[in-house]
Symmetry: C3
């Protein structure tokens, strides 16, 4: 029931033949391929499986409190870079402690609405809440807790130049403050 294993290796003189797909093992010894490297690289330099890193900060404008689908925004920002990776990982890091990143349903906005309902219910807010940290308002401490519940970091596989998510998955930015500011996400791409 498993897909074929894709294996990539970047030895000093490793090269993939132009027709190699991610589902074909491609480990060449350094000595055997030394003579073919220059040719492969010059004729198909864009397909050469070099190890690449890319890093960028994406800014999401201030959102209202709640859960927001940001997949299309993210893909618009990094899609061109993603297309250069046959296999890799995309890492997303939200640089804030009162919002969160998560992966969830990408179709019915009721799911995002209900998730906000849950978060507001499970973390007490208001005069009866037991928090000591209240200087920035009643939504401040609950926002910190929700940030750790869902987390501020995501890693998504890259396959053939795209984020390899499931059919119904999307990237959510969950804003936990009543009066939010723009949110910064450091995106790091790594792969071949």
């Amino acid at each position: 029931m498993q897909a074929a294993l894709a294996f990539f290796s970047a030895t000093p003189s490793m090269s993939l033949p132009p027709s190699a797909s991610p589902c074909v093992k491609a480990r060449h010894s350094t000595t055997e391929d030394a003579s073919t490297l220059a040719g492969a690289a010059s004729s198909t330099s864009k397909d050469f499986p070099s190890v690449k890193w890319a890093q960028k900060t994406v800014v999401v404008p201030a959102q209202r409190r709640g859960c927001h689908l940001i997949t299309s925004k993210i893909v618009r920002e990094i899609g061109q870079d993603l297309s250069g990776f046959k296999c890799g990982l995309a890492h997303f890091f939200l640089q804030h402690t009162s919002a969160s990143l998560t992966i969830n349903e990408n179709y019915d906005s009721d799911v995002r609405h209900d998730t906000e309902t849950f978060l507001s219910k499970v973390v007490p807010e208001g005069v009866s809440a037991p928090w000591k940290h209240t200087l920035e308002g009643p939504d401040d401490m609950p926002a910190h807790i929700k940030s750790s519940m869902f987390g501020c970091t995501l890693t998504i596989p890259i396959t053939n130049g795209q984020l390899n998510m499931g059919t119904w998955q999307g990237i959510w930015l969950c804003e936990h403050r009543d009066h939010a500011t723009p949110r910064h996400i450091v995106v790091t791409l790594n792969g071949m």
Copy 2:
């Protein structure tokens, strides 16, 4: 109290001596090692620390609602590939929004039972629950929430060809639907 630092570096002509262990620093300048590369590569090609990527989709058959230990299943699927990495990271990505991946206790099945008890208690379900998203049944919206609570992605260090988890840690697949389907996990290995 700290273990020695293991340092790996893949410069274009970097090579590790055959005896190098993961706990020995091994950064060579490109010029110094240029003459030794071919020899090292030809004599110990399997130990040569090339950067490798591997990616595979593992399918876990439908499970009943609850928490399931899947470490042995995962290791059976990727163990042979893992063995080729001295140092790296293994990334697991569940392509669904109504199940989750987490790391927890690997010995007493009561821990998995109690965790399911907690999840069913903390996320309301049934006629009194406040959800708008109910078309797929009473367990649908709670499943989405639990998926974000535990998350759908894990990254585990690879050390000397094995997942470097603690003695009592295991990989859990938590199924949040009453009537589940098979679940797909994209596994990405990266390292040297």
Copy 3:
């Protein structure tokens, strides 16, 4: 509103000019740069963007139950290694099932206090709790649940030799046991 994209590529003969910053694209074809490689490497060997991996286990002494800021401890342990990476990812893996790692506020200790208050409130403990797994005491099963709520793994971007967290972010070790032991964190650095 986005920062310039930083792009790094390690082809067999790729080289960055000594003045290249992480915000400048630097993809060279293998054939064009073949003649400049040796020179760049010999004159600026420390700046050569080779792919590097480093792995180390950091031990945090036993902490009392609650949330603890460990950023400075972590940076003290890995700072020297971090400084060698222009762009990359730092991965932290806690090898335990009754504690957790999370990122949250780094300034007001009340935030850590209130987070512990929340965790103790949301996960029942004591004679009325519904747990079957109680052999190691009333705090044992709640500790396992909290470990999966916050998670045992973190990935943080590295930019210009430093952890690229937001101004108010810090790394927390959350200890969920009443009588804790030292906690082991496997740190894996990868980048260029």
